[in-house]
């Protein structure tokens, strides 16, 4: 064992109780960090997974982020003229030359594409009216882009083709209508067209907002009822690598001009919430570690004060200032490291306890889960240990430097 370590351990052994208290402070900080991180990361990862699964990764819409440049603006380029309140042109909406665009996008590797025509429609069943967002889909392509099949609780996607005027509705839509599979509902479009649909399937995504609004029919049928023949207004894209969604969306928008949203953009508010959540988690853990660091600072300051004579003799024996500083920094590191190791055990234990807790989720995206979703990730252990060690070293630094600057002559003189 090195001499520095032997001296450091000797000091801590003399102050067992205080050392243990500080060590436990560090351990609690690290343990809670690991447990809270597992809880939050587990929920967040699961939530993002759900969001990603339910919807396509990228959606191109027949909209533009900014209105077309007006002739006046073109004539006086450079911001000399600004035109506000531009009224949208009365043109047939929809993505132009959609077929060519779909082909172009499909040529990209690791990408699946599906065309959709979406429009508002009123479903009427008996005396009940429910406004739905009708999506005309191509079942073969759609299944590659969303998890629509997985979410179906009744019927099959093929039934759209097999049944004339078949429709698949969200479970919420069915409940609000009071209708179920096999019933016929009347659909009224803004264009005035009225058609009767037969419910052939139900979908439950777990996202209430979707389940209470969505209805799927064949693309061709949607084009008829919405009176937009041969038009589509969304191109849905799914990627093999979810992380490529945002760059791809930006690229497509730059090339085609249409508003293109990645799942990250569509869920920006939720993701921003996660950032705040994580910030809160880190502040709480930071506060615990700060308190623990003060504990470490206190012990090491006391040791330095109490061991002034030992420091003086070590210096007169020929220990350099750096040697003395190393002794006390090492003491901080020992407390930090031991605290981190105990904290790992505490964190692991807390996660196991949390994993035992069972409760019924109310619904929403967590429907069907009993208990917490816990992410068991190695990095939280490393990060927690790293924080603890860093906090301990910072706390030890000031008293260690004080010890290294101690003048042996002053102490030797006074210690008769």
């Amino acid at each position: 064992m090195s001499l520095t370590l032997a001296i450091a351990l000797g000091h801590l052994r003399r102050r067992k109780r205080q050392t243990i208290v500080s060590l436990l402070g560090v351990a609690l900080g690290v343990g809670f960090f690991i447990a809270i991180a597992a809880l939050m990361r587990g929920f967040q990862t699961y939530f993002v997974q759900q969001v990603i699964d339910v919807a396509p990764h990228v959606v191109m819409k027949d909209e533009f982020r900014s209105p077309d440049l007006q002739p006046a603006e073109l004539a006086f380029a450079g911001g000399a003229v600004a035109v506000r309140g531009v009224r949208p042109r009365e043109a047939v909406r929809g993505i132009r030359e959609a077929g060519a665009k779909i082909e172009a996008i499909e040529a990209i590797r690791g990408v699946a594409v599906a065309p959709v025509l979406r429009g508002p429609v009123l479903f009427r069943y008996g005396a009940r009216d429910v406004a739905v967002s009708l999506a005309g889909i191509d079942p073969v392509r759609e299944r590659r882009v969303t998890n629509i099949e997985k979410d179906m609780t009744a019927g099959r996607l093929e039934d759209l083709r097999a049944t004339a005027n078949g429709v698949i509705v969200g479970i919420g839509v069915a409940q609000r209508l009071g209708a179920s599979v096999g019933d016929t509902v009347i659909a009224v479009a803004p264009s005035g067209v009225t058609t009767s649909f037969r419910i052939v399937g139900l979908i439950e995504t777990g996202v209430t907002a979707l389940d209470e609004r969505e209805a799927y029919v064949l693309l061709r049928l949607a084009q008829v009822i919405l009176d937009r023949p041969n038009v589509i207004n969304q191109i849905r894209i799914r990627l093999d690598d979810v992380r490529q969604a945002e760059p791809l969306a930006r690229r497509l928008e730059a090339v085609f001009g249409y508003r293109t949203e990645s799942w990250e953009e569509s869920n920006r508010n939720v993701l921003a919430l996660f950032v705040i959540q994580n910030a809160i988690m880190f502040s709480v853990v930071g506060a615990i570690l700060l308190v623990a660091a003060f504990g470490i600072y206190t012990i090491i300051s006391q040791v330095v004060h109490e061991k002034a004579r030992d420091i003086a003799i070590l210096k007169s024996l020929g220990f350099r200032a750096g040697d003395i500083q190393a002794i006390f920094l090492l003491e901080g590191a020992i407390v930090g490291l031991a605290g981190a190791v105990v904290g790992w055990a505490v964190g692991y234990g807390l996660i196991e306890v949390l994993a035992q807790i069972r409760f019924q989720s109310a619904g929403g995206p967590l429907r069907g889960r009993e208990g917490f979703i816990l992410a068991r990730e190695a990095w939280t252990y490393l990060a927690g240990g790293g924080f603890a060690l860093a906090a301990a070293m910072v706390a030890a630094f000031v008293p260690a430097r004080k010890a290294s600057r101690l003048n042996p002559v002053e102490i030797v003189r006074g210690a008769a």
């Binding site: 001499l3 032997a6 001296i7 000797g10 000091h11 052994r13 003399r14 004579r309 030992d310 003086a312 003799i313 070590l314 210096k315 007169s316 024996l317 020929g318 220990f319 350099r320 200032a321 750096g322 040697d323 042996p408 002559v409 030797v412 003189r413 210690a415 008769a416």
Partner: protein
């Protein structure tokens, strides 16, 4: 013959609104084999002179030569290295580390220096303890020893790295007459055995008389030096 340690016209003045001179224009060369006793009334600056000779403090004026080398331009770390290898200290208080056994306390300077192998260090530490009549105390902690034994352990520690000069500041101040006499016997033996020198600060005139050279300090100045008187 080169002096092991020499003070050349050294002054040490404490700064402040009213500067205090601890040592004034002192010149003293400690030659090999000398046993120097520095005496003087309290506050005469004899301890301060010892700290200057021991490179624990730096002079305000003049210079300290260690084996002919000027120490003024040496860094604090270099001075520490010189203390570790060439000097040994004994103070009035024993300053043994309470967490370590007698043997481990003697080993500390050797482990820091790292010149000997671990086994050689052990052998040397045990030999030193034995030479000082402490063979049975090797495994004991300082608090289990008597005052005289503690001081002898401190001497063993000072000898650990085979220093050229032993510097002792009132080493017998806390000891009874018998133990004090024993400590001086040890010092006398150390000087007799080779080229080593010992500098002892003491206020005990009787013990001082047993040294080979007597130096008297009053108000920070040397007022008597037996070596100079003979010459």
């Amino acid at each position: 013959m080169t002096a092991l340690i020499a003070a050349e016209n050294v002054s040490r003045i404490l700064p402040g609104p009213q500067p205090v001179a601890l040592v004034r224009e002192v010149s003293l060369a400690v030659r090999p084999g000398e046993f120097v006793a520095v005496t003087g009334p309290s506050g005469s600056g004899k301890s301060s002179l010892l700290y200057l000779l021991g490179l624990l403090d730096r002079p305000t004026e003049g210079r300290i030569l260690l084996e002919g080398k000027d120490t003024a331009r040496m860094s604090d770390d270099a001075l520490a290295a010189a203390r570790l290898a060439r000097l040994g200290f004994v103070f009035q208080f024993h300053f043994l580390l309470p967490e370590f056994t007698t043997l481990d306390n003697v080993l500390i300077p050797m482990r820091r220096l790292g010149r000997l192998s671990e086994r050689e260090q052990q052998t040397r530490a045990k030999a030193l303890l034995e030479a000082l009549g402490l063979a049975d105390a090797a495994g004991k902690y300082p608090e289990q020893l008597s005052g005289g034994m503690r001081q002898r352990v401190a001497i063993a520690r000072a000898l650990a790295n085979d220093p050229a000069v032993i510097l002792a500041d009132e080493p017998t101040g806390n000891l009874d007459t018998k133990n004090a006499s024993a400590v001086f016997d040890i010092f006398a033996a150390l000087v007799g055995s080779g080229g080593r020198s010992v500098v002892v600060v003491t206020h005990d005139q009787e013990l001082a008389a047993r040294a080979t050279r007597q130096v008297r300090l009053v108000d920070g100045r040397i007022t008597y030096d037996s070596a100079a008187a003979v010459a």
